[in-house]
Amino acid sequence: MPKEHLIQQVSLFSENKPGKLAAFAKAMEDEGIDILAFSIAEAEGFGVIRALVSQPEKACKKLSSMGFMVRTTDVLGVRMKDRPGGLREVADILGEAGINIDYSYAFSGRHGAVLVLRVDRPKDAAKIFMDKGLDLLREKDL
């Protein structure tokens, strides 16, 4: 299974303090890194910012140097049909294959509607999606 179908998401730890998102956004701006999508997961007293960016490794380096706790995670970007039933189709495939979703978020942009997924068996999931004829984002698409 080619690894190129897994894309690198940048995840960073964020204390629940004002200005954390702004600091992240400014760092990306300064480095000329494009943010395609992001989500914030919040818990008691802290959060995790997850983002798809144009140059994940450069982004990580920059954020680390600023003192952020940051890592990259393999996620899948599944192109959905941008019409009713698009999400159901993707969800059904995962459900039938018994693959568990850790988290997901969606965005709509120049690639159409994309569902970003972190799942417990990413390589299996990528293969199944492609067998079913769905298109996955690749690193070069970022």
């Binding site: 730890f13 008691e44 003192g67 890592r71 850790d102 972190r118």
Partner: protein, 433 residues
């Protein structure tokens, strides 16, 4: 005026001092002869029992500290034979290990007698029903008050801590006349009672409260007395000295420290010189009659004042004022002693977090909240909230079981918490009393 031990409580001051001197002299001979620890300590301090020629010579004797109990864990400082010990209690130590204290039957009797005198001086006795809402168990508060209250012939409701609504129901149904608990817990009960539609003044027979095990102020006393329509009395003690031992009398002019049981000094914490009468300083107590675990010049760590004038109640024992603070960094959270060093010790055993931490204490409503901020280590950062919550809960659980008090944990970025050179200031205490 009722006294429990009239002869001792109203003994002329000079006679009381003579009695204290005799007891001190006997104690030093006994320990010099029978305790390896005290023998070595006295040798080290170049003092022999023969050098104790007056009560003032107590200053020649070496100090004892909490760390001496820790270093001699669990019972190496006990002087009596193990089979003469009839009770143990334990309290939190400055590191992970608790400190253990032991009692002979005579020690328990003296403890109960001390509280019997104290409770009598607050106007309690037969016919009273006393709700003991201090923790029962290894903590000395519950059982100490329990036996003291039984000694004076009062009925005891051993409610311990928690389940506040049931405590209030029982207080109403059993016609409780007095309660012993921490001042913040009583205020909390007052709030809960109000929500239950119960008015302390009208719906209960509660008239007196014996409050302590945590610092409180005259302002809190006024609030408690006015809000609840009762009289509130300050109590003092610590497990190393037996447990809760001494209270104010009905005059509320300081805590009577019975002279036949304890010798009190107030010292400058730096020079160890006795401060001028009425000046504040570090409280140092010698227990004159303790058998199993004697305490000579124990540095309790509390800051207070000493008053030796005879009280208007007729009692001649010296009194100590309110505890005004600590000489060390010990915190009292919901009546439980917490040392920052215990937190450090616990964090060292958890690989996911670093050893730097900050403590923030707040009082939400009437109860204390303890927040510990710790740094998550980079290699344990996960983008899954679940993984991070697991770490947070693990730290909270470990701290809870070592401190015996509920802890809120906050994860922080590595290298984000303050570093200290020299004395660390890890505690932010926002409680206003």
């Amino acid at each position: 005026m009722d006294y429990w031990s009239p002869r001792i409580e109203t003994m002329p001051v000079q006679d009381l001092k003579d009695l204290q001197y005799k007891l001190l002299k006997t104690l030093t001979y006994k320990l010099y002869s029978f305790s390896d620890f005290y023998h070595a300590r006295m040798k080290e301090a170049k003092v022999h029992p023969d050098d104790i020629r007056s009560l003032d010579d107590v200053v020649k004797l070496p100090f004892m500290k909490k760390s001496d109990l820790r270093d001699n864990y669990p019972d190496k400082l006990f002087v009596t034979a193990r089979e003469d010990v009839v009770r143990f209690h334990a309290s939190s130590g400055t590191t992970g290990k608790p400190t253990v204290v032991g009692y002979t039957q005579h020690d328990l009797d003296a403890w109960s007698t001390s509280l019997a005198r104290a409770l009598t001086s607050c106007g309690l006795g037969r016919g009273d029903t006393i709700q003991v809402s201090y923790g029962y168990g290894l903590f000395t508060g519950g059982l100490g008050l329990h036996y003291g209250a039984e000694r004076i012939g009062a009925a005891v409701l051993p409610a311990s801590v928690g389940n506040t609504e049931r405590q209030i129901d029982l207080m109403v149904d059993m016609n409780v006349t007095a309660i012993a608990c921490t001042p913040s817990y009583l205020l909390h009960m007052g709030e809960v009672a109000e929500k239950m539609g119960i008015n302390f003044g009208k719906d209960t027979k509660l008239r007196r409260a014996i409050l302590g095990a945590e610092p409180w102020t005259e302002r809190m006393r006024t609030r408690i007395e006015e809000n609840l329509g009762i009289k509130a009395y300050d109590i003092f003690g610590t497990s190393e000295l037996s447990g809760p031992l001494f209270t104010e009398c009905a005059e509320q002019k300081g805590i009577h420290v019975w002279g036949d049981l304890a010798l009190t000094e107030i010292l400058d914490p730096d020079t160890h010189e006795t401060v001028a009468p009425g000046e504040k300083g570090e409280l140092v107590v010698t227990m004159l009659q303790k058998e199993a675990l004697p305490m000579i010049r124990y540095r309790v760590g509390d800051v207070t004042t000493l008053h030796e004038d005879v009280c208007s109640c007729g009692r001649t024992s010296p009194r100590i004022g309110r505890i005004q603070g600590r000489v060390d960094d010990m915190l009292i959270i919901r009546g439980i002693n917490v040392f920052p060093s215990q937190i450090e010790h616990t964090l060292m055993s958890i690989p996911e977090v670093g050893q730097h931490f900050m403590i923030e204490v707040d009082r939400k409503g009437e109860l204390d909240d303890l927040l510990v901020r710790v740094e998550l280590k980079r290699e344990y950062f996960s983008d899954k909230i679940d993984d991070l919550m697991k770490i947070k809960r693990k730290v909270a659980h470990a701290l809870r079981s070592s401190l015996n008090v509920a802890v809120e944990v906050e994860l922080a970025n590595p290298d984000s918490l303050p570093r200290f050179e020299g004395k660390a200031k890890r505690v932010i205490d926002r409680r206003q009393m």
